[in-house]
């Protein structure tokens, strides 16, 4: 298309300096040119109407990224990624319009049914647009983001949050509307130089969530991407920043159980959490990106950097994750326990089936006095998948009285998969007390037979046994989410037993 081409040329000619003065551009193109360059970074920044300081920040990250190499230490194998052969920005666009569920992949519909998501909601999720005359409210067209409810519900929630003083908005908006907060905290937990993928994200992130909870406020509801409107296609390079000011509390839910597809194979998200004195952040994730087909082709590469900073005394950050999707998962939600008496938690369920590869775990860095952490990891490997727990627990010299408890359990289904546990422990002071337990077991034929003798199908039996295995972690999820996650776990293991 000539129009696009022209825009591309225009972007190429733009002198980066122009952005310093809040240059407003009228770029019509929906897509950045292929490949990564300072121009691409400038294009994205302009698309988001960012102030000059933000562009500078991105460019610095980009220049840094040029000097870095992709990490190779994880137990994952994938073909070499050609970073110049990717698109780094495409404008939010509505899903391909379909007029009835008949046009949706029956496999996807089956999954909705099994998750117990009513068809009405499935229509919304899949962006079905009713033809004129059919009884569907018009707002359904845009409700695709508000996954489990309509726009009006989301608006009501916004009102309530406003009353409480909680800021919850796309990070692109926050950059414009709350620059002082963003400047102060963005990159303060995951610096732009942190690691190859995080640095890449810093240069090209598209959008994500921003949350600020003022001092002493208990956020009146679970915050969830479900209820955030105006957010499309941000999955690729998502950037999230959550700040819990002194004495506040917030619980944030990311992702959803419904199957998620994306044309972009490479995902590199960054999430930063900051908890000040006496504050608590609970961050829960359900990740169900496309894992690839039965031959192991396609599927998302998910390279995520998630880190929380317990910056204040008595602060607490708790990560809970249910990872069922993606072809490759590279993800270590971590806690920096800086404040005295602060606490970090990591509860994880990582399921791999087919040809999926998971290398996930956490880091608990004890810097403050009397800091405590707890790690409960449940890895389930089926099919021909590989599932690795990788963890690091350290105590700084000054972190007297640091305590950690780690329990890593792996469950193998079948004999073509692998489970691996790689725990690193470093204590630089003698008063630190670190405990580590690890088990690896195979799903027992006798247990499956017992269940089938009582009337459960083989698949139901596997689902039940696995749900029992992960119960301690499921209990950490908010209630409604836990019920869905439980079903999702059974679904992800389908076809794992003969």
């Amino acid at each position: 298309m000539p129009a696009v081409q022209e825009t591309v040329e225009r972007v190429r000619r733009i002198d980066v300096d122009q952005y310093r003065y809040g240059f407003e551009t009228l770029i019509e193109s929906d897509k950045a040119p292929k490949g990564l360059s300072e121009d691409t970074v400038a294009f994205i920044s302009a698309k988001k109407s960012e102030p000059a300081w933000m562009l500078e920040w991105r460019l610095e990250a980009y220049r840094r990224w040029l000097t870095m190499t992709e990490p190779k230490w994880a137990r994952v194998n994938y073909p070499k990624i050609d970073y110049q052969d990717l698109y780094y920005y495409s404008a939010p666009k509505p899903k391909k319009q379909v007029t009835s569920l008949d046009e949706i992949d029956p496999e996807i519909l089956k999954t909705y049914e099994k998750l117990g998501i009513p068809l009405r909601e499935a229509e919304v999720l899949e962006g079905v647009v009713r033809k004129d005359g059919e009884d569907a409210p018009v707002e359904r067209r845009i409700a695709v983001d508000a996954v489990f409810d309509s726009v009006s519900v989301a608006t009501t929630f916004k009102e309530e949050l406003k009353k409480a003083g909680v800021i919850f908005m796309p990070i692109s908006e926050a950059i414009r509307e709350h620059p002082e907060l963003v400047k102060k905290y963005l990159g303060s937990v995951v610096p732009t130089s942190d690691n190859f993928f995080a640095t890449l994200n810093s240069a090209v992130f598209s959008d994500g969530s921003f949350v600020y909870v003022p001092p002493g406020v208990r956020c009146p509801m679970e915050l969830s991407t479900y209820f955030r409107i105006n957010e499309r296609n941000t999955g690729q390079f998502e950037r999230t920043l959550i700040i819990a000011d002194k004495g506040s509390y917030v619980s944030y839910l990311e992702g959803c159980t419904a199957p998620q597809r994306d044309e972009n194979q490479l995902h590199a998200a960054v999430v930063e959490l900051v908890a000040l004195d006496d504050a608590e952040i609970k961050y829960s994730t359900v990740q169900n990106w496309y894992p690839g087909n039965s031959e192991g082709l396609g599927g998302i590469y998910n390279f995520v950097t998630k880190r929380g900073d317990c910056r204040g005394k008595n602060s607490k950050i708790s990560w809970t994750q249910v990872e069922t999707g993606s072809a490759i998962t590279w993800k270590y939600p971590s806690c920096i326990l800086r404040g005295d008496n602060s606490r970090g938690e990591f509860y994880s369920i990582a399921i791999s089936n087919g040809f999926q590869q998971v290398d996930s775990g956490t880091k608990m860095l004890h810097l403050g006095k009397n800091t405590t952490s707890r790690i409960i990891s449940k890895g389930i490997a089926a099919g021909r998948s590989q599932n690795t727990y990788r963890g690091l627990v350290t105590a700084h010299r000054k972190a007297t009285g640091a305590r950690n408890f780690t329990a890593c359990d792996s469950l193998l289904i079948g004999d073509k998969c692998g489970a691996h546990t790689v725990p690193y422990v470093e204590a630089k002071n003698s008063s630190a007390l670190f405990e580590h337990e690890a088990t690896t077991s195979k799903i027992s034929e006798d247990v499956l037979f017992y269940c089938t003798q009582r009337g459960l199908s083989q698949e139901e039996a596997v689902g039940l046994v696995v749900n029992g295995f992960v119960k301690d972690v499921l209990q950490q999820l908010p209630m409604e989410f836990a019920v869905e996650a439980q079903k999702l776990i059974s679904i992800s293991l389908e076809g794992s037993v003969g």
Binding site: D446, V447, Y450, C451, Q453, R454, G455, L464, V465, G468
Partner: protein, 250 residues
């Protein structure tokens, strides 16, 4: 038509033939006891009837209400009314007994085309059965058999049997590990389930159980075959003379 008809059954495990041509017919309303020395194949028989994988049936057949039982998956057999109380019930950590019972009962009902029992109706039924069998409610909240004593595990098996109301109950050494009082309660539970349209196959080593659950027939198994069948008096005879007399017969 017999409820269960086993004809000339040959079964192998990992290249060893364990059942060598076993035949047994059980009609509705009957209680059969199977006795026999350790390793004679009693549990193997019960597993094959219930459909445990890893057993290779090399000959013979098993008919259940005239249908080919060997062609069915274990869960289909369960839905049709085959129940096995295990000699060694397994533990399922993290799965509350109540959840397990409800999931299993509803899976069976679904397979039979019946409606799902909703939670209130299910709870009522489960608590009623539990009370009858002296099973404390507390036990139902714990993980399936996790940390249960030997006797509690057996009681949990009887509880499931009472809840699922199967038409064929196979009890593999339900008396082992039960104290005298528990044995009586369990036996009362079994007796309460005796009915003209339900049959039982009771595997045991001891006459004592058969004083409580009085069988219509007693069979002696040895080396993978039924070597003698008779009435309840056969059990008394065995108690007196042991199995040596059958070693040669087999």
């Amino acid at each position: 038509m017999a409820l269960l008809e086993i004809k000339d059954l040959h079964v192998r495990v990992e290249d060893n033939e364990i059942l060598h041509g076993l035949s047994l017919t059980v009609n509705e309303g009957e209680v059969h006891a199977i006795m026999g020395p350790n390793g004679s194949g009693k549990s193997t028989l019960s597993h094959v009837i219930a459909g445990k994988p890893d057993y290779e049936v090399t000959g013979g057949q098993i008919l259940f209400n005239g249908e080919d039982l060997l062609a069915m998956q274990p869960d289909e057999r369960a839905a049709k009314g085959v129940f096995l109380a295990f000699q060694y019930p397994v533990e399922i950590p993290g799965v509350a007994t109540m959840t397990f019972l409800r999931t299993a009962l509803n899976a069976q009902r679904k397979a039979r085309g019946e409606s799902e029992l909703l939670t209130p109706a299910f709870l009522k039924k489960a608590y009623e059965v539990a009370a009858r069998l002296n099973v404390p409610r507390d036990m139902l909240k714990r993980g399936v058999n996790v940390g249960f004593s030997g006797g509690e595990k057996k009681r949990n098996e009887i509880l499931q049997m009472a809840l699922f109301e199967p038409s064929l109950c196979i009890l593999d050494e339900m008396d082992s590990g039960l104290d005298i009082d528990a044995l009586r309660v369990a036996a009362d539970g079994v007796n309460a389930l005796r009915s003209p349209d339900r049959a039982m196959v009771v595997i045991t080593h001891y006459q004592r159980l058969l004083n409580y659950v009085v069988p219509d027939f007693v069979h002696v198994m040895s080396k993978g075959r039924v070597v003698k069948s008779g009435g309840k008096e056969l059990a008394l005879e065995l108690e007196a003379s042991g199995y040596t007399q059958f070693e040669d017969a087999a």
